[in-house]
Amino acid sequence: MRAMSSSLILNPKSQIQNALPALVAFVLVLALWEAAVWLLGIPVYLLPAPSQIGQTFGERPAYLLQIGLATFRNALLGCAIGCGLGCLVAAVCVRWRPLADGLVPFAVASNAIPIIALSPLLGIWLGSVSSASKVAVVAVMTFFPTLVNVYRGLMSPSHDALQLMRSYAASQRDVFLKLRAPAALPFLFTALRICATLSMIGAVVAEFFGGPQNSLGVYIKSQAGILRTREAWSAILVACLLGIVFYAAVALVERRVVHWAGERR
């Protein structure tokens, strides 16, 4: 506890120091981009300068954020469903190993499958303009990584740790709640961080195949289609910001919950 509280005080400082090179690199890239556009005279429909993108965003931030949040809502809902089901199925797999033997190899293999390609089909099943098909794409995308990671986490306790529980004549419920579930928490958060990224990608790309008018994917696609690249880029900027916020929120909760691993990361 002593070291933990001191780390909470010490960490922000070291974090800023750690983030400094990345920040410098980010600013440098933006400056290069800006300079390249102006010096090489790149036409705006090919690549607008960062300042132009920022300006376009500034012209209608409320609208962009509104369509951003509409897409974000699908991402969040889909992620909640996918991750929730992933955890549930992982827990059932632990109790009933034949299911795990049958399912987990496919879940692992699904990493190699571009699930996003299913998007038009889900559109047929659930309505291509509806939110439901977007939520479904995200749910399917996030289900498998969560299942695989959480299952690994639930199976991670050592033989001795399980034998210890056995020696106490612990119930299945206690073994799950006091050993497997806490041991799986770091794995769950690894999955959630992956899923935060995936769900934003899934939600935006799914909208490329059709979606409600006021959504990021539809907006990006339609604006790019008529070469209004500044508008498209400003929407991409919103997608990036929301993705980062989602990821950061997960990482923040992770630091709080998986506090025991914090010192060694």
């Binding site: 002593r2 070291a3 056995r166 106490y168 004549a169 006091k178």
Partner: protein
């Protein structure tokens, strides 16, 4: 010897192997009295850990009978007669040191206040009273193993099974832990029966009332050496002539195998 608390009668343990069955333990007959400190010693593959695991119902014999407190080991486990210490401390890293010691008490349904009291008392006993709210990774290997011992004793089991608990520690820490273990055991009036698996001859002699010398292929008991060194045993015990005689006797027992 009074009524034995652990009684092996012609116990054997055979594992099915890919190239025919492997006999891990052959025809073991052994009686251990209540409150005895018994070490199992022998080269690797002699089945000393298996013998301990049979007592604790972590594995089951394939032949003969084994009784613990006149019950089957299975019943004894359900009655929570065993505290176990492994070679690795096996602490749950998400729990504070105190919460680790409370773990068995939690599972056995002790009320929170009693759990806390008992855990703190044991942490004092193993010299870690100030570390209750720390997390396992903040402790050295020796300290972690002391937490593991405190956890094993927290619910006052009548039998403590220790599987090379000091095997991963350096020699200096190891001897200090041996002294502490005897102190802790004495603090419980030596009512607790301890089964201690080790591959260190001086460790076995220093700690035990009886040293069970085992030999491999198939695992069997070569000899049981009673240790008549007076208790309490101290630093000087390790330098007494009788200590060396007994070490020699155990060593010869091992060589016969």
């Amino acid at each position: 010897m009074p009524e034995p608390i652990i009684a092996f009668e012609r116990v054997s343990k055979v594992y099915p192997g890919t190239e025919g069955p492997v006999t891990a333990l052959h025809d073991i007959s052994l009686a251990i009295g209540q409150g005895e400190f018994v070490s199992l010693i022998g080269p690797s593959g002699c089945g000393k850990s298996t013998l301990m695991r049979l007592i604790g119902d972590l594995e089951q014999p394939t032949g003969g009978t084994l009784h613990v407190k006149n019950k089957t080991p299975h019943q004894a486990r359900l009655d929570r007669d065993y505290g176990i210490v492994f070679q690795a401390p096996v602490l749950y890293e998400w729990r504070s040191v105190r919460k680790n010691v409370e773990l068995p008490l939690e599972i056995m349904g002790f009320p929170a206040e009693q759990r806390r009291e008992r855990a703190m008392a044991l942490l004092r006993l193993v010299g870690l009273a100030d570390w209750g709210e720390s997390f396992p990774w903040q402790l050295s290997g020796g300290m972690q193993q002391r937490v593991s011992i405190a956890r094993a004793l927290s619910f006052n089991p009548s039998i403590v099974l220790m599987d090379e608990p000091f095997g991963a520690l350096d020699e200096i820490t190891r001897e200090r832990m041996q002294d502490e273990l005897l102190n802790i055991w004495s603090a419980a009036e030596r009512q607790t029966t301890v089964i201690f698996v080790t591959h260190s001859i001086p460790e076995a002699v220093f700690l035990s009332d009886q040293v069970v010398v085992m030999s491999p292929r198939p695992g069997r008991v070569k000899r049981v050496v009673p240790i008549d060194l007076p208790r309490p045993r101290r630093f000087e015990t390790r330098e007494s002539p009788r200590f060396f005689e007994l070490v020699t006797e155990v060593r010869e027992g091992l060589r016969e195998g």
